[in-house]
């Protein structure tokens, strides 16, 4: 599903040049669950942003479903991202002025799905995430675990082929963290491809494969024993 070859990302200012990714090559097949690990500043998030089409690499190739997407313009990136990629963040990134329902509904509005259909799908998804009873609440009225479940609901509402998770349990206690990991595993079993950045060895153990990054390069790739 994902083919990456010799990917480089360099951040330049007038004085400083920082190499965030230095010749990364990797592949992800349909239905895989991948964890990316490494210390702070090793380029995990940069890689995830490029995978999520939020950013372009400086050089190298990125094939998504066999199509080169590494040098798309911003408008084309938005188009390719829509409905194909879902994001889960460490800090949830819910819109505070919108209710749970509206937050989850958001991707569907931008896909121009009709209102009745949207309502049906949001209700289904909220039910699946067991937070239907919170649909009309605002994010700041929820606990961290609940907020992350809303964020996951939003990430999967459009049935994306790829889910990108950036330290999804980073702001959660162990109980809520476990719930979130179970949810991701379940989604993976239902067919979603997941790439997750994490600091936690425990979280990584849920993945099929763990990629270790250091200073913008892949050090090791470990198949999970599971």
């Amino acid at each position: 599903m994902i083919q990456i070859k010799d990917l480089k990302k360099v951040f330049r200012t007038e004085e400083v040049e920082t190499v965030a990714l230095n010749g990364i090559s990797m592949h992800v097949t349909q239905g895989e669950f991948i964890a990316i690990m490494g210390p702070s500043g090793c380029g995990k998030s940069t890689l995830l942003n490029i995978l999520g089409l939020l950013d372009n690499p400086t050089s190298g190739h990125y094939l998504l479903d066999g199509k080169e997407v590494g040098n798309l313009k911003e408008k084309e990136r938005t188009q390719s991202r829509k409905g194909n990629i879902g994001f889960v963040f460490q800090s949830f990134n819910l819109i505070e002025e919108m209710t749970v329902f509206e937050n989850v509904e958001l991707p569907l509005t931008y896909l121009k799905v009709k209102a009745a259909e949207r309502k049906k799908r949001v209700e289904e998804t909220l039910h699946k995430m067991s937070i239907s009873h919170r649909a009309s609440h605002f994010p700041n009225q929820l606990s961290g675990g609940q907020q992350q479940r809303v964020a996951i609901a939003r990430a999967v509402i459009a049935n994306p082929k790829l889910i990108l998770a950036d330290e999804p349990t980073g702001n959660l206690d162990s109980k809520n963290g476990k719930d979130v990991m179970d949810l991701l595993t379940e989604l993976n079993q239902e067919g979603a491809t997941i790439v997750m950045v994490t600091h936690s060895q425990h979280d990584a153990s849920f993945a099929h494969r763990t990629i270790n990054l250091f200073d913008g390069q892949i050090i090791t790739e470990v198949e999970s024993k599971m």
Binding site: G52, T78, K82, Y110
Partner: protein, 794 residues
């Protein structure tokens, strides 16, 4: 603890917001200063006379029609004697044009007044030379202004000097200067440089000022005078006496033949209103910015509090900055006011230092108060331990801001619509008045008989020059009143009195007035001399000529005389009767013209009988080729010098005459335009600042939306639509109010501009577009931000 560098640092931290505030405050204060002095001047008219509160001007209106400011043939003395509340009556009559000869030099004067001998008892005009008790005791005495004294004699000490006066409306006279008065101040309803004592007003139009025992309940007195008047003049049953306190003449009097064009109380209201609207806008910006700045500074205050500061310290800190900002605004405003005053030609004579200080303090107080409100209402958010309160207050102040935005926008759209409305009325005035759109017409107001007798040679001589297009004359100038009535009798009907306008040859083509039916006047067959002989024969021996004179009617006259169509009237004989100008009793309708506005748009179309004569060409009008103005003026001067060597030339542009007649409307147009531009600028600046703040607080949300599939365009649309919604609401508020106000104002005019829908649409679309342009740049910038950066920011 606080010092100037600290205040400057705090100022710089939020400098964009503060500069918007500073600009608003400075402009506002400048407007307040200028408006204050202007309004005070307008309200001060004639109040400086010590008996001002006991002097009223009397006018008679007939059958509810607009009164003439002057009386004629009324035995005012009889009225004074029979009513005990009236102590004395001052009679003044104005001569528009006279020739003054001093030491052999002639000059035209346009403001000669005749007065009864009690002038100085009633109006305490200060005399530089002469004794106010005795100055008007001997017949033929005259007082002149200091300015005229210096102009004629080079000194003020000139008692006993002789001057000669001559004019069409009085016997030539030699007067002895009995006094020199101080030049009249600007804030009085009539100005003159020369006043002649006159004993007899029996055969002239005069203004009657009554000195009453006590003011100001005049309605009873009006009734008493009316009763006496009706008893004395039983032939005028519809007469009604109107009394106008002298101090109110300037702003409230709308009689015909005012001594000078007056002001109008409505424009005082307009100026105060415009100031208030601008004030609201500026204060809302102040409030809004204070809220925004406070939320920027919240962290700073939380830290202050953390270290033990009280609410008082927080409030004081904010006030300090606002205080100095306002002081800077006042200083800048004072500077700007010089330019504003210059733009409107207003002098600062009517504002004292004390009043300025009071205005400053008042302004300071209000601004500090307004800035304090948002601080006090948000101060709980500096209690940093509670997240909930924090969020609530922010959301609350946001919704407040929206209402402020709506009010600001309603004001801006309102004032722009009013500007368009006033403008279109001014355009209508220019279109309606004859020659109103043209700048190539010069006019000569009422000329003395010696000059009138040279009219035809002047005309012939001028027309030899190609740069002079055409020359004509008339009894009155456009923009004045047509009041001479002529009795007209259509066979088999009763006599009807209609206003008569006497015009010279080429009058209709001169103003491009087309004949609707029949034909134009044929060239005159008689000379001025022959016409005069006929007239004198009629007056002296009551012998009428059997000539049938051609007349032209306007549509209204056609209707009043009972004709149903122009064709019906053409060729009909009408008996005419006018004591002063008819040498024949019979006229034939030769043509009909559409109603044209010769007097003013305040009056509905007047029915007019138009005669063509050599006589009574009191006023001349000359049209020149627009491109050759300089040359035309040279020709005019040299030809005039040749034909009338003894008389200085005295012309003005027709457009200037109209500018005087409509000075209130033109001023109003200028004022409202000025204020609408200010309101727009300040609102847009406020909007830009507000948008910047809104985007700053929504950056993360925008990022999240983008991650979830929003395109840049969708983001820009979202941001702009949220704004447009409020503008639309403002449009709905502003339109009915503006419509109502303009309709009300238009009631002043007989000829009204139509309130077109496009005015409302233009104003609304214009404001919306400007606002969208102002915010779209920011929206676009916000939409372009890579969500990678914004989503992470905590």
């Amino acid at each position: 603890m606080y010092n100037i560098p600290f205040v400057v640092r705090r100022f710089l931290k939020t400098k964009n917001l503060r500069i918007v505030n500073l600009l608003g405050l400075a402009l506002m204060f400048a407007c307040i200063l200028v408006s204050y002095t202007y309004v005070k001047r307008e309200l001060s008219f004639d109040k400086f006379y010590s008996k001002a509160d006991r002097i009223v001007r009397m006018a008679v209106s007939y059958d509810g029609q607009q009164a003439d400011g002057r009386m004629y043939g009324t035995n005012v003395n009889q009225i004074v004697q029979s009513i005990s509340e009236i102590e004395a009556v001052l009679k003044l009559s104005k001569i528009n044009t006279a020739i003054l000869t001093s030491k052999g030099t002639k000059q035209v004067i346009t403001d000669l007044y005749f007065s009864s001998d009690n002038l100085f008892e009633i109006l305490d005009i200060p005399l530089l030379n002469g004794d106010s008790q005795t100055v008007f005791k001997s017949p033929g005495s005259v007082v002149i202004s200091e300015k005229l004294a210096y102009q004629l004699f080079g000194k003020a000490d000139i008692i006993g000097e002789k001057i000669e006066l001559s004019g069409r409306r009085f016997q030539n006279m030699t007067c002895s200067i009995a006094g020199v008065f101080k030049d009249m101040p600007g804030n009085t309803h009539f100005h003159t440089d020369i006043i002649v004592r006159e004993a007899d007003f029996d055969n002239s139009f005069f203004y009657a000022y009554l000195l009453v025992t006590k003011g100001p309940n005049y309605s009873e007195l009006e009734k008493k005078i009316s009763d006496v008047f009706l008893k004395e003049n039983p032939q005028r049953p519809g007469a009604e006496i109107n009394l106008m306190p002298m101090a109110d003449i300037h702003l409230h009097s709308h009689v015909l033949r005012e001594m000078e064009p007056n002001g109008n109380i409505y424009y005082i209201y307009l100026i105060i209103g415009a100031n208030m609207l601008l004030f609201i806008i500026v204060m809302f910006n102040l409030w809004l910015n204070a809220s925004v700045i406070f939320s920027y500074n919240k962290r700073y205050y939380q830290l202050l509090r953390f270290n033990g500061a009280s609410s008082y310290v927080v409030a004081k800190d904010e006030i300090q900055v606002v205080f100095w900002l306002t002081v800077a605004g006042i200083l800048a405003g004072k500077l700007i006011s010089v330019f504003v005053a210059d733009y409107f030609s207003i002098s600062f004579n009517f504002i004292s230092i004390g009043e300025e200080i009071i205005l400053c303090l008042f302004f300071l107080f209000i601004t500090v108060l307004v800035s304090l409100f948002p601080v006090l209402s948000n101060i709980s958010s500096t209690f940093f331990f509670n997240d909930r309160i924090d969020l609530k207050t922010i959301r609350f102040s946001f919704s407040n801001v929206k209402y402020m935005l709506v009010i600001q926008y309603s004001i801006v759209i309102f004032i722009i619509i009013v500007t368009l409305g006033i403008n279109s009325q001014i355009t209508l005035i220019r279109n309606t008045q004859v020659g109103g759109m043209e700048s190539n017409i010069v006019v000569f107001d009422e000329q003395p008989p010696e000059i009138i007798s040279n009219y035809s040679s002047l005309k012939d001589e001028l027309l030899k020059h190609p740069e002079i297009e055409s020359v004509t004359g008339a009894m009155q100038l456009p923009g004045s009143a047509v009041r001479d009535m002529i009795g007209a009798t259509v066979e088999g009907k009763e006599q009807i009195h209609l206003p008569v306008l006497v015009v010279g040859e080429d009058f209709f083509p001169f103003y491009g007035i087309k004949i609707e039916a029949g034909k134009m006047f044929a060239p005159l067959k008689m000379s001025l001399k022959e016409e005069e002989e006929l007239l004198f024969r009629r007056i002296d021996e009551n012998i009428f000529s059997n000539l049938k004179e051609d007349i032209i009617l306007n549509r209204k006259a056609l209707q009043v005389l009972g004709f149903t169509s122009p064709e019906e009237a053409i060729g009909k004989e009408i008996k005419i009767e006018h004591s002063a100008l008819d040498y024949t009793q019979s006229a034939v309708v030769s043509g009909v013209v559409d109603d044209f506005t010769y007097t003013s748009v305040y009056e509905d179309a007047v029915p007019m009988i138009i005669l063509q004569r050599n006589m009574f060409m009191n006023c001349f009008m000359i049209r020149f080729v627009p491109e050759h103005e300089t040359q035309a003026m040279q020709t005019l001067n040299s030809v005039w010098g040749k034909i009338n060597p003894d008389y200085p030339i005295n012309y003005k542009f027709l457009s200037d005459t109209y500018n005087v007649v409509y000075k209130n409307e033109l001023n109003a147009g200028k004022v409202i335009k000025f204020f609408s531009v200010l309101c727009l600028i300040i609102t847009i600046l406020g909007l830009i600042v507000f948008m910047a703040f809104m985007i700053k607080t929504r950056t993360k949300e925008i990022g999240i939306r983008k991650v979830n599939g929003a395109t840049n365009r969708e983001i820009v649309t979202m941001l702009n639509v949220s704004l447009l919604r409020w503008i639309l609401l403002s449009v709905c508020i502003a339109i009915p109010v503006a419509w109502f106000i303009i309709e009300k104002w238009l009631e002043n005019f007989a000829y009204k501009a139509d309130l077109n829908w496009w005015m409302f649409v233009t104003a609304s679309v214009f404001v919306s577009l400007i606002s969208l342009v102002a915010v779209s740049f920011q929206s676009w910038k916000a939409a372009k931000i890579n969500p990678v950066n914004s989503v992470k920011s905590e």
